[in-house]
């Protein structure tokens, strides 16, 4: 594989060998890839100044399968600057992508666009919670785990604003009954998620719990570190 100037973002980076960086990147046409940026630790002024999270990049690389070598890097527009809570939200998006996307060559342009739009929205820090929930939805779609939200799986009956439901990961939507341990969600909140608009505090809260259940299911019970961060913050603040 010898790729020239493919749009990409860095999801994570860490030092590698003596002077290099190991980059976990998300590229528009090839999905998630591991790249070695040789000698990048030293030339702080040049290349590695660009090799930052949320910087739209054009990357060139060559190599096979698991580990490729970065050969060129250019900026593809200004860096998204995520401040305050948005900075934490951005780390959450990156963790989602690293945990969910396999390292395989696959055209990811739709999800790539979703990611870019999410960063843009986080930059203006309007309704961060909505941005995260919608990105989770797009990610599940991309992975082939799209949520079927508009009808009950057993009966095929369309959802009703006034009724309460629960979502069984990998199966679908069911009518809520007393005594269930899964979080419940109203038909109204489901409709917000389907329409991707109309959200309010109640619906966002219900959607968050449903999404968490589904995401945890597909992660096989391993908690997302960045989600723990949010939880711990609340605990510490309450002390």
């Amino acid at each position: 594989m010898n790729i020239k100037l493919c749009p990409a973002f860095i999801l994570h980076q860490r030092p590698y060998r003596e002077n290099s960086l190991l980059l976990d990147i998300f590229s528009e046409q090839f999905g998630r890839i591991s790249l070695v940026a040789k000698g990048s630790k030293q030339n702080k002024r040049g290349q590695s100044g660009l090799l930052q999270l949320y910087q739209p990049l054009l990357l060139s690389w060559y190599g096979q399968k698991e580990l490729c070598t970065l050969t060129a890097c250019e900026a593809d527009g200004p860096r998204f600057i995520l401040k305050a809570e948005s900075a934490l939200c951005g780390l959450y998006l990156n963790e989602l992508l690293v945990r969910f996307l396999p390292i395989t060559e696959i055209d990811s342009s739709r999800l790539f666009n979703n990611y870019k739009q999410a960063l843009d929205a986080l930059q203006s820090a309007n309704h961060n919670e909505i941005i995260l929930r919608l990105f989770e939805k797009y990610l599940l779609n991309y992975l082939g785990y799209a949520l079927v939200l508009d009808h009950e799986v057993e009966t095929g009956q369309l959802i009703d604003d006034q009724q309460r439901y629960y979502y069984q990961p990998d199966s679908g939507l069911y009518r809520w009954r007393q005594g269930l341990s899964l979080p419940s969600i109203s038909g109204r909140s489901l409709q917000h998620l389907i329409d991707e608009q109309g959200f309010d505090k109640t619906s966002l809260n219900e959607i968050k719990h449903v999404m968490r259940t589904v995401i945890n299911f597909y992660l096989g019970g391993k908690e997302l570190q960045s989600r723990q961060l949010f939880g711990q913050l609340q605990q510490y603040s309450a002390k």
Binding site: L11, P15, E18, R79
Partner: protein
Amino acid sequence: MASLGPSIDQLIEAFRCLPGVGPKSAQRMTFHLLERNRDGGDRLAQALQQALNKIQHCQRCRILTETELCPRCSDPSRNAEQLCIVELPSDVIAIEQATHYKGLYFVLSGHLSPLDGIGPEALGIPQLIDLFAEGKIKEIILATNPTVEGEATAHYISQLAQSKNIHTTRLAHGIPLGGELEYVDSGTLSHAFSGRESI
């Protein structure tokens, strides 16, 4: 590499625990000490052993020190109402040398990095909360790096400080003094631009 015996191999391997030292550099250091500078090697061994025995983290600010409290934390003339929070011990040295700051410090030893498994506990956040709870601190100065993780860490701590009604400030980040716009990298420039101030 052909082995020259277990002691040499062990020393080469031991040098590799230093950051940026690979097999080649480790071998060069080993040969240098054994062939040309055995006195230096002796001093290094003793200094290292002594430092490892005596030096610990300051119980208050977490910087390295030979005493329970570091010289700054035990200096009554410093302003205990201000706390400057930094990522690394070297940041404390840099601020001490470059500024007239007379408050106290807290060293996180890193920044939040979920994908590396570095959370609040590794950064001493519970300890920091205990300091906040003492009620002496009136202002915290967040001096974490202007990276994404540094920014996330600063926000995290600022939320905690706000819940304890502590005034929070953050270092300004921008164009280096004497720098020319043309030569400033785009990240720094956009950061400086978004952080512009009215005059």
